[in-house]
């Protein structure tokens, strides 16, 4: 069968159409132009007209250029030789070192059979109270960080990444600023995790389409490690760049846009990637943390909106803090009843009171008279922000819970917290911090 074709009939956007026969859907091709070569993938076939998405972009492609079909869909080399390495969106090394010679695995594997998934059960400690207490991260969870452009989302991502005890860390960077890429590298180096890290990086300077394959590459490699029994953490940033690349292709293909120009299958495209997060029954797991920047700080923008429906919760990053409202780990109840008996009660009470504090703050802003109750709520809000919400805190879960009890006791009477009696009796701190009666007896004895 012939593999070279050069009858290009159409060049539009990032898509090239060529006359060819016997080509399989989804197959990979290489296009060679006067100054470069690029990978391309079949995205539509009609009779002998085959449309290809060109990862390197179509700038400078001529109607006389040659296209060679590889006879298979996209494969990424897999093996321990990948550890410590950096690749681009076409899977080529970008760290100046030689290509990896290893057996390739197909990207975009089929869905995992749900009966071969286990119920996630392992808490991932991050030592950030806003995550550990209120939005507990669980192994195999897929969790996005919704963020406005200026927030330190990549920092948070890197930090959670380094502190979580994953055996393999895979970073997928899409539309990254070169500085951000270097920062990730440096931080992983400093933390000494570079040796178990693999990076697939597309920077803002690279062709847009190259960004499309980043999640698939990262997830395909992660999945292989998980099948080998490893616990893998995949970090993706920024999924909005990925979605914008999807939008670009869809528009080129003249698909009817559904919402603000995004294609109708945006949900499906995102879900196919996020759903790769898994805890295999009888093998390892893959946890997925992704940054999603919200254009115009708007959660109802199609990208964060669709993401929110797919992922198992979300963290909102705003004013340098993880927002207590809106942020949510849907899997937290799978683990937070096994940490300490007051974990759930504290989680609910602190948030409900903080919500009431916000109301009192509004009253204050409106210049209304404040009741004694409002004053206490205001005091509570300030303490809570300072001692619990601060993102720079680095404390274990139990210490964080104890801190919450201290704050509550400083501001409220037990029944005002609406925490059940049994829990109150066990954990309530008395204001003056006098030692509990039993404790006294013990000191006397000894």
């Amino acid at each position: 069968m012939r593999t070279f074709y050069d009858e290009i009939t159409k060049i539009a956007g990032n898509v090239v159409t060529v006359k060819a026969q016997g080509i399989a859907y989804d197959d990979l091709a290489v296009i060679t132009t006067g100054h470069s070569t690029s990978l391309a993938q079949v995205i539509r076939m009609e009779d002998d007209q085959v449309s290809l998405q060109i990862f390197g972009g179509t700038e400078g492609v001529s109607t006389g250029d040659k296209i060679r079909f590889l006879g298979h869909s996209f494969k990424v080399p897999f093996g321990d030789a990948l550890l410590g390495r950096v690749f681009d969106g076409s899977g080529r090394p970008r760290d100046g070192r030689p290509e990896v010679k290893a057996k390739g695995v197909e990207i975009g594997s089929p869905a995992v059979n749900p009966v071969k998934r286990s119920v996630p059960s392992k808490m991932i400690h991050t030592r950030i109270p806003m995550i550990d207490i209120f939005n507990t991260l669980v192994g195999s969870q897929k969790l996005p960080i919704f963020s406005v452009a200026g927030e330190p989302y990549n920092d948070v991502l890197a930090r959670v990444g380094m502190q979580a005890d994953a055996e393999v860390i895979i970073l997928g960077g899409m539309g990254l600023r070169h500085d951000d890429y270097l920062t990730f590298r440096n931080r992983f180096d400093e933390a000494g995790v570079q040796g178990r890290t693999i990076m697939f990086v597309h920077t803002a300077a690279d062709p847009v389409v190259e960004c499309l394959l980043i999640p698939d590459l990262a997830l395909a490699v992660g999945e292989q490690y998980a099948l080998q029994g490893k616990n893998v953490l995949v970090l993706l940033s920024d999924m909005t760049s990925f979605s914008d690349a999807l939008k670009e292709i869809a528009i080129t293909m003249e698909q009817v846009p559904s919402n603000r120009g995004y294609p109708g299958d945006l949900y499906t495209q995102l879900a196919r990637r996020y759903e790769k997060a898994v805890d295999f029954d009888g093998a390892g797991s893959m946890t997925l943390l992704a940054c999603v920047t919200m254009p115009g700080d708007d959660v109802t923008h199609p990208v964060p909106d669709n993401t929110g429906y797919i992922t198992e919760g979300q963290l909102y990053l705003r004013n340098g803090r993880i927002e207590p409202f809106g942020s949510l780990s849907r899997l937290k109840q799978l683990v937070n009843d096994k940490t300490r008996d007051d974990h759930q009660a504290i989680m609910n009470a602190c948030i409900q009171l903080y919500a009431q504090c916000e109301e009192s703050r509004e009253k204050r802003e409106m210049g209304f008279e404040l009741a004694e109750w409002d004053m206490r709520l205001l005091k509570y809000g300030d303490l809570f922000e300072e001692k619990i919400m601060d993102l720079n805190l680095n404390i274990p879960l139990f210490d964080a819970l104890d801190k919450c009890w201290e704050i509550l006791a400083e501001c409220f009477e037990p029944e005002e917290t609406r925490i059940r009696d049994a829990i109150i009796q066990k954990h309530w701190r008395h204001k003056s911090h006098q030692p509990k009666p039993e404790a006294q007896v013990e000191t006397v004895k000894s």
Binding site: Q21, G22, I23, A24, Y25, D26, I43, R44, M45, E46, D47, D48, S73, G108, P110, V112, N113, P114, V115, K116, R117, S118, V119, L227, Q255, V256, P257, S258, N259, G264, D265, Y267, T268, R272, E275, K276, V299, T300, P302, D305, G308, Y309, I310, L331, Q333, Q344, N348, I351, Q352, A355, K363, M366, F368, E369, A371, W373, R418, R420, A422, I423
Partner: protein
């Protein structure tokens, strides 16, 4: 009937054929490695046939063979469906996993029923009897039910029983009867039959108006926005507001015979939860595991889109089948928006003229037709049976003003709207008590519900007014009404889905506690100032919270007034038993406290009068 592939685009294939093709019939695209991919004919134009493929199309080539079949996409019906976990095309997922391992490879299909398992057949007809479609020929026990084996639903006219198998063990594929039609042709009947999923299955004497409450054990639903057996309801809500959790607790505690869970285009992890938990959980009303009354259809978001569209119909067909047997079935679909999006994707590929937000023009009628499949029917032998549909809706941006929510609201009988502000404040279930509605009558006297509603609404008005005039500008009486509304909300409407006791409230308990709260809410405590009102209602509220965590003591309701079926209390295991208070004791404390408040109010009133006299 064969054709050749002409074009491939996403999950759409255009084939060319000179043969006869049937619209909506299934077919197979044959990949060059021999793997056959299931597809459905969705449009015919001249000799061009548009097919939607129920699998990934990777690897298909122009020129590959397409096989066309006659039959439409159908569900397999018979004993052995209960407890099964299927994908949207009714492939049994556990058996697929045994065969193929971790991944759902394209082109792997399996028969929906276990053809080797045998069932204890008891005939109910004899040779010579005259029967027609959906009449019972005999039965086999399945779980706690008597599973009737019926004359195939599609058979028209009357048939005479020529022979019927004796009592004994048979597999679903064994012949259990031979029937002769009017022209004397013999037809074999086995225990399984098929039915095209997109066609409503309803062989009944007549349809009845649904009126019997379907108890979910969720207080805000049963007491405020009830649903009924054979009715329909929807749960729209932004992401994370609690749609799935609400459906999950409903699937556990709803008072129906059978629950069919259709996970349509949502997370696989949520289904895993159910798959792992249900075989361990006991249904308190039957003593069997919950799995034995459940069927899971699971076409999650990473699975092919066209099969997602099929999954809601597959689920509905199974629901209708068990309704024909004479049972009450609840179909839960999560989420119908994903189904609508699947329609949108397919329509887009067909290049149909798009409607609002690019949804196809027929979106509304498809949604209406689907919900119309619910209902109470009277079977030919006078028994009543029902199929109820509850669907979640995931509106883009959480805005209910979008095509899927609006089309659904037009056709359902109850609307449980989840609000972002309630879920952000962790007020679960986040059903908005001011926005939601139900056209049905539930377990609480509607007059009482209206009185409670009045307090809720008034409370909300006062709260809004207060943002303008401040607390100081609000009279204590108004302030108290607002606090009472808040008290009802926190002590009754909110419910912790993750506590064994609070998660499910029985009918008697709901009636009892509702009446108690209504009484308190309508009592005039004559508070002197706002801090007193706030403190008092906070205290009452916290007592009721303790009450919610205490195990129900039915002896507080006179025996004659009880409606709950007695449950076996010794069977329940509770790791929090030690922390739970005693229902009657807490109730006593509440009554005592309320009495003391009333006494105080009376006393101070008397003192006031004395003062006035002396002055």
């Amino acid at each position: 009937m064969k054709g050749r592939i002409k074009a491939v685009f996403g999950n759409m294939v255009v084939a060319q054929t000179k043969d006869r093709v049937v619209k909506n019939a299934v077919g197979y695209c044959v990949r060059s490695d021999g793997i056959k991919l299931l597809c459905e004919t969705i449009r015919v134009r001249g000799d061009s046939v548009d097919l939607q493929i129920f699998e990934e199309t990777r690897g298909l080539r122009v020129g590959d063979t397409v096989e066309f079949h006659e039959e439409m996409l159908s569900a397999v019906l018979g004993p052995g469906l209960l407890g099964q976990i299927y994908d949207g095309l009714q492939n049994p997922l556990p058996r697929l996993a045994e065969k193929a391992g971790f991944f759902l490879e394209p082109g792997n299909y399996m028969h929906a029923l276990d053809t080797e398992r045998t069932w204890d057949w008891t005939p109910k007809v004899k040779a010579g009897d005259v029967v027609q479609a959906a009449d019972t020929l005999g039965s086999v026990p399945e779980s706690i039910f008597e599973h009737n084996i019926m004359v195939p639903f599609g058979w028209e006219g009357q048939y005479q029983v020529q022979s019927v198998a004796e009592s004994g063990s048979y597999a679903v594929v064994n012949e259990i009867a031979t029937l002769t039609d009017a022209s004397g042709n013999a037809h074999a009947v086995t225990m399984e039959q098929t039915w095209p999923v997109k066609r409503p299955l309803c062989v009944a004497k007549r349809r009845l108006l649904p009126t019997k409450p379907l108890v979910t054990s969720v207080r805000i639903v049963d007491s405020m926005f009830p649903i009924v057996q054979g009715g329909t309801y929807c749960i729209p809500g932004p992401f994370g507001a609690g749609k799935t959790v609400l459906q999950q607790i409903t699937s556990r505690h709803a008072h129906v015979d059978i629950v069919i869970i259709t996970a349509c285009g949502e997370r696989a992890g949520e289904v895993v939860d159910t798959i792992r938990e249900f075989p361990k959980l006991q249904d308190p009303r039957t003593g069997r595991t919950l799995m034995e009354r459940t069927i899971i259809i699971c076409n999650t978001s990473a699975m092919p889109v066209a099969a997602r569209d099929a999954s809601v119909y597959t689920g509905m067909t199974l629901a209708e089948y068990y309704r024909q047997i004479g049972l009450n079935v609840l179909l839960l679909a999560d989420s119908t928006s994903r189904w609508a999006q699947a329609m949108r994707e397919i329509s887009g590929r067909l290049e149909e003229i798009p409607g609002e937000e690019a949804f196809p023009a027929y979106l509304e009628s498809r949604i209406a037709n689907f919900y119309e499949r619910a209902g109470v029917i009277e079977l030919r032998d006078k028994r009543l049976a029902s199929a109820t549909i509850g669907g979640t809706v995931s509106p883009a941006g959480g805005n209910f003003d979008e095509p899927v929510t609006q089309a659904t609201l037009k056709v359902v009988g109850a609307f449980h709207g989840l609000s972002r502000s309630r879920s952000d404040a962790r007020r679960y279930p986040a059903i908005d008590p001011l926005e939601s509605w139900s056209k049905y009558v539930g377990i609480i006297d509607p007059k009482k519900v209206a009185r409670m509603n009045k307090i809720l609404r008034r409370g909300d008005e006062i709260r809004q007014m207060m943002t303008v005039v401040g607390e100081e500008g609000t009279p204590t009486e108004d302030f108290t009404i607002m606090l009472k509304a808040e008290f009802f909300d926190s002590a009754y409407l909110q419910q912790n889905a993750f506590d064994d006791v609070d998660a499910a409230t029985s009918v008697d308990r709901q009636r009892f506690v509702f009446a108690k709260i209504l009484e308190i809410a309508e009592t005039d405590f004559a508070f002197k100032h706002k801090d007193e009102a706030r403190h008092t209602l906070q205290k009452i509220g916290s007592m009721f919270l303790n009450l919610n965590y205490a195990r129900w003591d039915e002896s507080v309701v006179p025996e004659a007034d009880r409606q709950d079926e007695p449950t076996d209390k010794t069977a329940v295991e509770d790791d929090k038993a030690a922390e739970r208070g005693n229902f009657k004791e807490i109730l006593g404390q509440i009554d005592e406290y309320i009495q003391s408040l009333l006494d105080n109010a009376k006393k101070s009133q008397a003192e006031d009068e004395v003062e006035q006299v002396t002055v």
